[in-house]
Every structure is written in structure tokens, then in C-alpha cells.
Symmetry: C2
Subunit: 677 residues, 2 copies
């Protein structure tokens, strides 16, 4: 027998190879996904495989104990030094000596799948833009006087089939010492351009580099900046963290920041510096906590709305504040992170910004599209991502529409009298007993409800400090369900509602959730103004979704995906009570968590996804809410908190809203509406 059958699992790929062929070589020839950084030199251990011995009736094969070459010194040295799971071999050392079945464990697969929490979403397949390559470079020779960089390029072409490379000046500066220290063997981090440009050398190390390789998926919101630190080799999220966007001091919402730029010469420059500083702070904190050095962070994918996009890039967002809301640039951007002053990363790190869909529908919406793939959906799906702006996508395989709706920051707890960001001590869940009108609630940082024993002790540390976004939505919905608020949104008096908790405040009333003012603590209430803020926000959201439904010509959607603040914290039931989202079967309303952040993570972990979303975005049809008269109509019509749930047949099984009505002679709601118009 001069050759043998080799079957790889789980791929099922098979082929015959001459005896003596290393398993790694066989895998490569068959296109089996078996990792290797050192190119088969027995030093990186990425190509671990598990041979199977004995009967494989499925394959009609018996694998003899000597089907692979003997365990060798390289493997022993590796095992002694780093450890190797029993039964594992190094694919570059073990040679095929007979018919054999070889399993490639997940951690040896380059393109392994990363598990995502949301069950409905597609899995992330690892294929990051930045990868490590170990190469042996030809030594210089006076008779062949090419430069070290040109010989590195040749080696990468020869050993890894990399067609062309490029590098910045600081890599050229590092190159010669690294080659000599590594005795002409180096590891390079190469960044693949998904648009067919040359690979870019991001870093170089003498010998085999065994440090980390990380990337950042950054969701740059108007209110918060969230970042996931991802291991670019495993796809694992090592650590996630977020900070308030320090730009908030220039204006709470996007339009006030655009105004700031318009009113203050150089104001956009200040805001650019501020957000870049904030991102550096976040990255530094995140990497510090994770024990990752700046040099190990090779790239970032950033998603954000168009105003943040422009402010991050250093472009005055003034055009985004007025029709026709022209973006300076809409295509995806491939940049040096340095061009964004992101110094808390490797000096040659890259930054990728997803494309913007339109002047009001940004790279964050593109990221939601990447995460939720409405363009591949068989049924009509509505994807709603709530932040300070709401990004709304509606579509299926045939057509995808997108719009953005100016909900304002109320859903995030801002512009709410007792509002605060989601932090320990904030009320995040709330229920009101329909009979007693008494509230019970939970605060972030404590698993107990407020009426359970031990709650007081458990919250001694954090206190009860305010209401976050999800809390205020539940509070308003529960107040409505308990008959404390009428369909127009008016809070009743103590007499009208039968609870002392409805107290006068100015010319209107407020509902007291928690009062520690006697002890010098906070008094947490839901005021009439808070109800109005939530009404405005939910009307904008609903109107945006309805507008897309009109455009596509439908009265119903098949399913709803809630993302952003929604996905994380807001309960679908309360959202539907408030009329935030259009009709759907409640069991077909799912939560996608932070879909924009997930989209950023997908683009970070899979370079082909970048080209994919760039194509998808070109096909998404964008609807501009600001110029659609029907948006205003829907907005006005959606203002009420309907007294019946006729339009929510599914919901009526769960809740019945009381038919209450309070004296609304002060016309407060009307004034508010006019002011906004």
C-alpha cells in the first residue's frame, strides 16, 4: 500500500494520500479547515487533531493503531512545555501511515462558529480580517540586493499565498531588528482588505508570536459608547464595557449637538476631540481590566448614527441638521485607527466603519441589518432598534425598507424627572397592583423585588436612586393598566384614582413610586411631563414603523425583532401596552439584544461580512420620515394610550386596559404637542 484514505470529521472531506503525508498537508489539500500559524513547523500547536482508532462502520473503515506515524520529539517537547490534551496530535507532525479518520476539534478550526445568545440569529463564522502568519524570510544577499520588506513579501507569497503586502513606516522601522532577533523567522499580523487591496502588515514580532490578538466592536451611541473586546482568534468576547458619551455636555440628543456645531464656530472640532477622548478612555479601561495591552488590539469596527459618524470622523455634521440631510460620505470606511486619534490601540491598528444607509439611518442601522439579516427573511420582519434615535427596518427576501425616527432619549431614561442611566440603584422593573395601586419594583444590582423580605438590606449599598429607561416604560404602562392614567395620558388625582400616591405637582399630578425624602433620600415619581415624554417617544417610534408598513402596503407584520435598549431590558408586553410597536403575535416578538453591537462584532470577526453588508445597504430602500406627511399623521394618531386593545388582539388576552377618564381641562398635552411641532 503506497497511499491511504484519510477522512476528516466533522467536515466529511476525504482523499487518498501517499504514506508519509503530514495530516496538515492532507487537510490543506482537501480544503479542510485546520488552523496553523507556523506553517507546519511544529511550534504554534494550532493544528491539533484527534485521530480516531478502531471501527468506523459509517465509513466502512477500520483504523489501525499505527495509522499515524509515531508520537515524536516535537510533540513531546510541546506537550512538556505547554500541555496537550490526551489523544491529541499535532497535525504537522503526525504523518499518514494507513487509512485513518481524523477529527478537527473546534479550537483547531480557523472558521469556527461562535455561539450567539439570540437563538434566532445567524451564527458568526470566524474569518477575521487580521490574522497571524509565521514566516521564514530569505536572508539578504549582496548578489540579490532586494530589501528585507520585499523578501518578507516573497516569503508570505511562497508560504501563505498572500498576493501582496503593504506597511506603514513604523513597520519598516521594526522590520529589520525583528528579522534579525528572530533569526529570519518572524510572525506578522496581516490585515486583509475585503476590497482586494494588498494585505497590510499591522505588526511584526521576532520568532513565533504567542501574545494576544484582539479587536474591538464599538457601538458609538449618542448617549453611551459600548465596546466589546473580542479575541480575534476564538471570536470570544473577552470583556464588554460602556461609558456615557462625553459629548452629552454639548447636547443630549443629536439635533442639539448639530445645533451646537452650527452656533459655535469650531464646536464640531471640540465634539470630535471629546468623543475620540472618550473612546480612548473606554478602550484603555477595557483593555486594562482584561489585561490586554494596547499593542495587542489590532482593529476596531465602529457602528454609529450619521451624526456621531461625522463627528467621529471630524466632519461638521451641519448638513445632517437640515433637508436633504446630505451625508459627506455614505460608503463604508477603511481607516487607520490613528486617523481617528485612537491611540489606545496598536499604532497600526485599523478601523472599519460600516456604511450609512442615509442621512438619518446610519451605520448602526446597517449593523442591525447585518445582525438580523431581514434581506434573507422568508416572512415580513420588523426590526426596531431603540436608542436616542430609533432605527427601523422592515422587509423580507424581496425588499427591505429603513427609516430612522427621532424618539429622543426618553427610552434611555434621559429627560425624565427621576430618570437616570442604567446603573446600580436604578429601578428597572415595576408592577402596580390594579386593586391597591401599590407599586413593587426591582433595582439594578439586586435580585429581590421591593416587597420581598431582605430587599431593604440588600439595597443598602446602592440605595434606590432613580428610574432607568426600561423602568419608566414599565411604570407608564403599569400606570395605564392600573387606571392611574387615562387614554390621553393624563394622571388622575388622589381622589380620582383612590391612592395617596397620586399627588399634585404644579397644575398636574405625579405618581410617587418611592419616597425617602424624610430620611434625606430621593423621592422618585412619575410626573405628567414624564408621561408626555414617553408618549412623544413612543408615537415617533410607532409612526416610523407604520410609515414603512404603508410603503410596503401592509397592515400587519409577521414578526417583530426588538433590539437596542428594547432587546436588553424593555418587556415586549409593556411595549405593546404603550403602543410602541405595531400589531404582531406576542410569541413572534423576539429580542435581539444589542443588535448594532452584534453587527459590529460580526463585521469584526468575519471580513466577508463587510463586503456583504456593503452590498445589502446599497439595496435597502430608505424612507425619510422628516418629509413624509404621513409620518406626522401617524405620529399625532399614535399619541394616545388607547383605552381598548382592539388593535392588539394578542395583547387583549393578557391585559385589559381600564376605560378611565380624568379632567384634562388644563390642556397640558395639547400644549406640549404644539411646542414640538
Amino acid at each position: 500500500m503506497s497511499d491511504a484514505l484519510v477522512i476528516f470529521t466533522p467536515s466529511g472531506k476525504r482523499g487518498r494520500f501517499p504514506l508519509g503525508t503530514p495530516v496538515l498537508t492532507a487537510a490543506r489539500q482537501l480544503g479542510v479547515d485546520l488552523d496553523s500559524v507556523c506553517g507546519g513547523r511544529g511550534i504554534c500547536s494550532k493544528c491539533q487533531i484527534t485521530p480516531g482508532y478502531g471501527e468506523f462502520s459509517k465509513h466502512g473503515l477500520t483504523v489501525a493503531p499505527d495509522a499515524l506515524s509515531d508520537w515524536n520529539a516535537v510533540e513531546q517537547r510541546y506537550k512538556d512545555k505547554r500541555g496537550l490534551i490526551d489523544g491529541r496530535r499535532l497535525g504537522c507532525q503526525a504523518k499518514v501511515m494507513g487509512n485513518v479518520v481524523i477529527d478537527v476539534p473546534p479550537e483547531s478550526q480557523v472558521h469556527r462558529q461562535v455561539v450567539r445568545k439570540a437563538a434566532t440569529a445567524r451564527a458568526i463564522v470566524m474569518d477575521p480580517a487580521t490574522r497571524l502568519y509565521f514566516v521564514e524570510v530569505q536572508e539578504p544577499d549582496m548578489h540579490e540586493p532586494s530589501g528585507d520588506f520585499e523578501r518578507l513579501a516573497k516569503a508570505l507569497k511562497r508560504e501563505w499565498d498572500i498576493p501582496a503586502i503593504t506597511a506603514g513606516l513604523d513597520i519598516l522601522r521594526k522590520l529589520q531588528p525583528a528579522l534579525r532577533e528572530g533569526a529570519w523567522r518572524v510572525t506578522v499580523a496581516l490585515h486583509k482588505d475585503h476590497r482586494d487591496g494588498p494585505h497590510r502588515v499591522l505588526d511584526i514580532w521576532p520568532g513565533l508570536y504567542e501574545g494576544g490578538l484582539y479587536g474591538l466592536a464599538i457601538d458609538l451611541g449618542s448617549t453611551t459608547i459600548a465596546a466589546h473586546l473580542c479575541d480575534l482568534r476564538t471570536g470570544e468576547v473577552v470583556l464588554s464595557s460602556g461609558i456615557m458619551n462625553p459629548q452629552i455636555r454639548f447636547g443630549e440628543d443629536l439635533m442639539s449637538r448639530v445645533s451646537y456645531a452650527m452656533m459655535n464656530p469650531g464646536g464640531d472640532v471640540d465634539m470630535t476631540r471629546t468623543v475620540r477622548d472618550g473612546m480612548n478612555t473606554l478602550i484603555t479601561e477595557l483593555s486594562g481590566e482584561a489585561g490586554v495591552t494596547a499593542r495587542e488590539i489590532m482593529e476596531t469596527v465602529i457602528v454609529c448614527n450619521p451624526v456621531m459618524h461625522h463627528l467621529l470622523l471630524g466632519i461638521d455634521p451641519v448638513e445632517l441638521g437640515q433637508a436633504p440631510f446630505a451625508l459627506a460620505t455614505s460608503d463604508a470606511l477603511n481607516l487607520d485607527a490613528r486617523a481617528l486619534d485612537l491611540h489606545a490601540m496598536n499604532p497600526d491598528a485599523r478601523a472599519y466603519l460600516l456604511p450609512c444607509i442615509a442621512g438619518h439611518v446610519g451605520a448602526d442601522a446597517a449593523a442591525v441589518a447585518l445582525s438580523e439579516s431581514p434581506e434573507t427573511s422568508d416572512d415580513l420582519v420588523l426590526v426596531v432598534d431603540v436608542g436616542t434615535n430609533a432605527e427601523i427596518l422592515l422587509g423580507d427576501k424581496r425588499r427591505v425598507l429603513a427609516c430612522s425616527s427621532p424618539t429622543g432619549p426618553a427610552f434611555e431614561g434621559a429627560q425624565i424627572s427621576s430618570g437616570q442611566r442604567a446603573a446600580p440603584g436604578a429601578i428597572e422593573r415595576l408592577e402596580i397592583d390594579p386593586v391597591t395601586k401599590e407599586p413593587r419594583f426591582r433595582v439594578i444590582g439586586c435580585e429581590l423585588w421591593s416587597d420581598e423580605p431582605g430587599f431593604t438590606e440588600a439595597t443598602e449599598q446602592t440605595g434606590i436612586t432613580g428610574i432607568c429607561g426600561s423602568g419608566i416604560i414599565e411604570a407608564v404602562a403599569e400606570m395605564r393598566m392600573a387606571g392611574l392614567v387615562d387614554p390621553s395620558g393624563l394622571i388622575g388625582s388622589a381622589a380620582q384614582t383612590g391612592t395617596w400616591r397620586c399627588q399634585p405637582e404644579g397644575r398636574t399630578h405625579a405618581y410617587v413610586i418611592h419616597d425617602a425624602s424624610d430620611a434625606g433620600g430621593p423621592k422618585i415619581t412619575v410626573t405628567q411631563g414624564d408621561i408626555r415624554a414617553i408618549q412623544l417617544a413612543k408615537s415617533a417610534l410607532y409612526a416610523g414603523a407604520r410609515l414603512l408598513m404603508d410603503e410596503i402596503g401592509t397592515e400587519r407584520v409577521d414578526r417583530v425583532v426588538l433590539a437596542g435598549a428594547f432587546g436588553a431590558h424593555i418587556s415586549p408586553k409593556h411595549a405593546m401596552v404603550l403602543g410602541m410597536i405595531p400589531d404582531a403575535l406576542l410569541e413572534r416578538v423576539t429580542s435581539a439584544g444589542n443588535a448594532a453591537g452584534t453587527g459590529a462584532r460580526i463585521a469584526l470577526c468575519n471580513v466577508a461580512a463587510r463586503a456583504g453588508i456593503e452590498e445589502t445597504v446599497k439595496r435597502i430602500h430608505k424612507v425619510e420620515t422628516a418629509i413624509e406627511p404621513r409620518f406626522q399623521e401617524h405620529f399625532v394618531n399614535a399619541n394616545a394610550l388607547p383605552h381598548a386593545v382592539d388593535s392588539f388582539p394578542e395583547l387583549s388576552k393578557i391585559v385589559t386596559l381600564p376605560d378611565v377618564s380624568f379632567n384634562s381641562g388644563d390642556g397640558e398635552g395639547g400644549r406640549r404637542k404644539r411646542r414640538r411641532g
Copy 2:
């Protein structure tokens, strides 16, 4: 008649066109080289043409007075505002109405030839990387929500057939205000990548930009930095200037700078900063004097030797100081000028560095090859470029060899007792009367010889301050021809030579050229040490040329091109007396001036030349002098100043060297030679 014959001169291109076709349109369809920036909108005036009327017997054509449409209001307005030569028309306005002969004047040709001084050299054809394009961009529209940049790209594709563009963040920042100020008409400066990458937007202006467009050809030498400021539209050299390379304080020659880097941690960083500062100073001075703003300078082409190349790029040159003299990178580089800290240019200006041929044969040698094109020569040509190092090329159509020879800075007047740089007051020409042994000389800044009436008055301002490179070479050659120096290079005493001007100095003698020490002025002499320095330098130069001749297997070259310091100032006759260059017919020794600078200018003015020289350099065979034993042999053998001119048959018709011999018992020359070894 529905169409007419149009004949363009000087190209001779012809074709029939429907009546009413604008001349510019006809020219474009025929591929006639007729310029236009505004794309035929009648505002840039670049498409001026001269129609011919009457008999054209050569073409068998009679052109009627109404062969073109009437002079129109656009042309009249242009003429009133800017002036237009009588008989000229604007090609975009004048329409073909009958058979016509149309001349395209040189200033309306994009690819016009630029005259070069050296008659033998090939002309420069204008085809710069950076050009202006006037475009009308589609206004943004909420129903087609692409970014302004993407619509600019579309306009450039539609109007100018530019396939793709890219831009830095500061261009994105300028884009929106420019488009709006220019009412959606803008001029962009586009830089074409000769390697098929996208065009890069370097700048943008509202409306039609009528300012300047300049580039810098920089010859970065170890001793001096020279720059030519070129108009990228005409190819004209607006102004040239040079400064001493401020790196000189780290070491006079290349190897002492490499040593400095080796001995002082961070020394290379200091040198990088110093040379970049020097370049900025030079650029600022040059543009200030020429009345050109930094923003108007769009690109630079830089040529330099490998050590300067690395120091400019911020790469430690230590590897260039020891075998095998490995370059960090040898290929041509396309960079942002900003990456080299060249802030005295447009912030988006580009920098192109020619490729290096080898560790000792740099981008300056490549530039000489580009200027002199030995690879296209029918006869065997030796090109010698003398700076602190000599770059030597030898070859013809079949094969080109290159080497570098460490001549040291003596040819530039450095390390010479009375040496100085070429500046007013420096002796640049010198003759010695063979009978009286009396010198006569000229100094820079004065047209008179020192024995002519009025010389003293004419040099009162500058004084007579020292000897520059060309002066010392002539002085040594004249001393040899006058019998003051023997074949070994020894200066005779007053008694031996019969002139008081040969005075003792230490254990040897010096020849006094000029003595103003009584009046507190300088005493300018040629010392024995100076003779030795010139002997070493010329031996190195000669040995390098001989080595290439050995390699190619020839005893004679067909012609010699002298470049660098040579071309500018050193006389071929004196060079041959000294034995600096191998045998050739004196009339076949020509001067190419600053060939490296010219090569830089060619690459600046013609982008295709960049691809060309990159290909040529790959085919040049490089010979390393440092490891060739024959180089040492040739070097030692070339040390003498031969007493007969047997080996220079052509020269013997001009000069006869005397057969003198002085006592050389002190062995000074031998010591020097050993020290160098």
C-alpha cells in the same frame, strides 16, 4: 453637407464630424491632445486652438472663413476678462461648420514636451500624477441618499472617466462646504496612482480653481539638499534652491552618520527629525521666494542614497553600515508627505521615493538612470554621478550594471584644508601657468579672472574665502600639469619647483593660491593632505568604473556622461588628467548636470516614468564594491597621477604631464592609505 473634415496639427489627426460639433469634442474623439479642466464649460480656457483659414495644399483643403461657428459671448467674456491671443478660439465654444485645419498650440497640450538643457537627454513629456478636474456634482436628494463624496465620485466617472477615488478625512471635512459654496461645481486635484489604485483627492475648491499647482523634485544628498519647485501644469522649473543637509552635524559622510546611529541610542531618530526639519525649511524658503503657498504644493518626488533614504523614512540605517548592506525596503514608495512630517506642503500632498537599486546604490542612482536611460543606449555608456558617494552606471540596451563608490566628500570641497561649499567667494576655476607657476582663478559670484582688471573691486563684497569642490579638482590637476606635483602626488619644495608658492607645511609642502593673511584675510593653500584626499576620492571613483567594465568585459567605454557635482562644475579635461574616469574620446564625454535632480523632475512631471524606472531598476545588475577584491586592486592601482597620458590617448593631444619626481621619503601617502584600509 451634413459633416465636415477636421484636421488637427501638429498631430495630423483627422476625421469627419457632424456640423455643429465643438472642436473640443472632435479633438477628444480623435484622441488629440487638447487640454481642458472645466470639461467644455467655457470657463477654464485651457482648450485654446488656432484655426487656419485659406489654402492648405498639403491637405488639399481650402478652409472657408466660416468654417467655425461665430465668435461667441463666452469667448468675448473670457477675452475681456483674461485676454486671448488674436486668432485664438476656445475649443469648447467654436463649432465645426465646414472643413477646417486646427492647430493646437503647445500650451493647450496636456502632454507637451518640456525642454531640457542637456541636448543629449530625452525630453520630459508632461503627464503629471496630479491634475485638476472641474466637475458638476449631482445635488443630494432624499430619495437617493448617497453621500456627497459618492456623488463626487460618480461625477468624476461620468465627466472624466476616473474609475475610482479615495480621500483622507480632511478632504471629507472640506467637501460639503466646497460643494455648497461652488453651487455643486468644484475643482478637485486628483493624484493618479501609477500602480492602478484609486485616484486620490488631494484638495478641493469651490467652482473653478485658478490658483497654482506645484510639485517639488528633491535631491536629498548627504551634504546638500536641493529642490526644484516645478509648475505641474507647464513643467516649468519655477525656482531651484539648496541648503546644507543639517544632518552634517552628526557626521560628514554617510558612514559617520551610520556610526552615530550605532553609538547613540535614539541617534537615528534625531537625524530623522533633523533632515525632515531641514527639508521643511528649504521648502518654506523656496515657496516663500516663489510666492507659492504651501497648499499649492501637491506632491514631491525625492531621490537620495540609501542611508539618507532610511534616515528620511525614520528607519535605523545600521544595517547599511555592515555587510550584506540590507535595505529595509528597496521598492519605490508612495506615501503621504505628512508621514515624513513635510508640513510645508499641502496637508494631503503625496511623496514618491524612487526605488533603491541596492544597499549602496540608492534612489539617486535610480534617478540618474531615469534621466540618462542607459538601458536604451545603442553604445556602451558610463554614467558617473559624483556626490559624497559616487553612483556609477555602465551599460547599453542589452545590460546595465550599477555600483556605488565611497569617494567621500572631497569632491564637494569638504575635508579639504581651504575647502568650502560652493558659495560666493569660493574659488571654482583655477589655472596655473606652466612656466611661471603663477595661478589665476575665478570665484563664484564674479565673472572676471583674478588677473583681469577690476577683479579686486568686483570681489570686494564677497572676498575670496576658500576653494569649492570643482576648484580643488582643477587645482590638483593644474598643479600636476605645471609640474608642481609628481606622479605619486607629492608636492615639491620651492627649490624643486622654482616657485615661492610651494611652501613648507609640517613635513610636507603646500601650494599657496592666495594669501591675504597680512591684511587679516585668509591664506588659501592646497596642502599635501588635500592632494591625498583627492587621490583617494578619484581612485575610488575610477576603481568603481573599472570594476563595472571588468564585469561587462570591456577595456573601453563608448561615451561618458558626467553628472552631479561633475556635470555642474568639474571640467572633463581636469577630471581626465586626474584619472577620475576611464578612457574615452574627450568629445564623447558629456555633462548631464544634476542628473539625479533631473530624474526626480522627470518622475514628478510624468507619472508613467515611475512605473518605467521601477521596472528598469529590477533589471539593473548591481555590483557590490565592498566585497569585490578587484575593487581594492583597482583602487590601489589608481592612486597615482600618471606621469604620462598613455592611457588617455585623446587627452595627450591637449596636455602633456611633466615627468617630475620629488623626494617622498616621509612616506606620507602610504600612511594615509593604510589608515583608510
